[in-house]
């Protein structure tokens, strides 16, 4: 009879073993910062609904050096996430779109273009809108 195969124990720190895995874990870890920052934003909306005093308190808290550092760090993390994500985005693309072969470089450039335009629009809307 066939012996059942031997299974080696799994290394709990597998993600430290290869640079590819470490880079992957960094990409995943960036979302923790983005998640926390979103929580902060939701908290802000909650404070807004509680009246002016609560809202101003939240706004002041945002200017605290600790929060500024956190926001800056989150911005860097978001950029890391965006860059790594855009770089692998072509893999999710079909080989042809509307009969034309998809060029990987163009997909990446297209992502950055849309990203840039949306960011610009939001900046303009925030500063000159309202």
């Amino acid at each position: 009879m066939r012996q059942s195969p031997y299974h080696r124990p799994r290394d709990p720190f597998w993600y430290m073993r290869r640079s590819v895995y470490r880079r992957y874990m960094v990409r995943e870890a960036t979302s923790v910062f983005i998640g926390l920052w979103m929580l902060n934003l939701i908290l802000g909306i909650l404070q807004l609904s509680r009246g002016e005093a609560a809202w101003t308190a939240w706004l002041t808290w945002q200017q605290h050096p600790l929060m500024l550092t956190f926001s800056g760090l989150t911005l860097i993390m978001a950029m890391v996430h965006t860059t790594t994500w855009f770089a692998i985005a072509p893999k999710a693309m079909p080989k042809f779109i509307a009969g034309k072969a998809v060029v990987h470089q163009q997909v990446v450039i297209g992502h950055w273009l849309v990203f840039g335009l949306v960011s610009l629009f939001l900046l303009v809307a925030v500063y000159w809108g309202a």
């Binding site: 059942s4 195969p5 799994r10 597998w14 590819v20 895995y21 893999k91 080989k95 042809f96």
Partner: protein
């Protein structure tokens, strides 16, 4: 005909006084070893030896009990996958000279059960492969005399039914994915498969994608259940190392992402479209 008397001893039977190299091979013989342990082998260093040649030397000259799989010696059959210094590679296209003079660690493919020495258990993979139906389903449905959806009659299977033509572009949609040799290097590269052995995995999904992309095939719906369940494409978190180690440039990561897009689109359409139109 006389053969010129050249000194070709280094090619066939290198003497021990020449340069050597050390291989540390993970050994496991069920019934004899309770767990795998490394065994060192000192072998002659021959510049043009592949790892497969080195293993062959050990089996012929030093220890005939060493087990490993191989067949074609030219990266076609996919049997000789193993880990060299922790990186999954084909033994027949990995060379001693790329490691010399350092010792080389040779281990069976990671994330698989070990049958014996460097031989891993392929059974679970073969079951997965079967589950995605890696063959053309109802090939002649779109042939001139065929009708899509009609049961495959014997008549339609014959050449009288007409040619099933394919343009270069239609071929380009899947040919890269048809290059897979089932070597399983991608499974050893995948940490998600390591954490969850039920994950369908890179090669099985690539082959499913290969047939899903083939315009002669009518089996997308048959493959959907295996692909779209939790252990299907959705277990992939896009680490991407599978595509780096693939010796055939199949790029399994791209197949998985494209099948995710297909799965999500089908799901969205299933809400939007009336039943009959899907």
């Amino acid at each position: 005909m006389t053969i010129p008397a050249t000194d070709n001893t280094s090619e066939t039977a290198p003497s021990k006084s020449e340069a050597g190299i050390t291989l540390e091979i993970l050994r496991y013989i069920p019934g004899t070893h309770s767990e795998p342990t490394f065994q060192r082998f000192e072998i002659p260093y021959v510049e043009d030896w592949s790892m497969l040649d080195a293993l062959g030397y050990i089996k012929d000259e030093l220890d005939s009990s060493l087990s490993y799989r191989w067949s074609c010696r030219m990266a076609v059959c996919g049997s000789c996958g193993m880990m060299f210094d922790g990186v999954p590679k084909l033994a027949c296209e990995t060379f001693l000279r790329d490691y010399y003079p350092r010792p080389i660690r040779v281990e069976p493919l990671e994330n698989f059960g070990i049958e014996r020495d460097l031989v891993i258990d392929q059974e679970p993979f073969l079951e997965k492969l079967e589950s995605v139906k890696p063959y053309i389903i109802d090939a002649m449905a779109n042939a001139p005399s065929g009708k899509p959806g009609a049961p495959a009659g014997h008549e339609r299977e014959t050449i009288q039914a007409g040619e099933n033509r394919q343009t270069p572009k239609e071929l380009a949609l899947f040919d890269q994915y048809s290059m897979c040799i089932n070597c399983l290097l991608c499974y050893s590269a995948c940490p998600q498969f390591g954490l969850n052995p039920a994950f369908l995995g890179p090669a099985a999904i690539s082959l499913a994608h290969r047939y899903n992309q083939d315009n002669r095939d009518q089996g997308n719906a048959d493959r959907a259940p295996a692909l779209n369940e939790e252990d299907g494409v959705w277990s992939c978190t896009f680490v991407g190392y599978c595509s780096e180690v693939c010796p055939k440039s199949v790029d399994p990561a791209s197949a998985i992402q494209q099948e995710k897009v297909r799965g999500a689109t089908d799901w969205a359409l299933s809400w939007l479209l009336p039943k009959g139109a899907r």
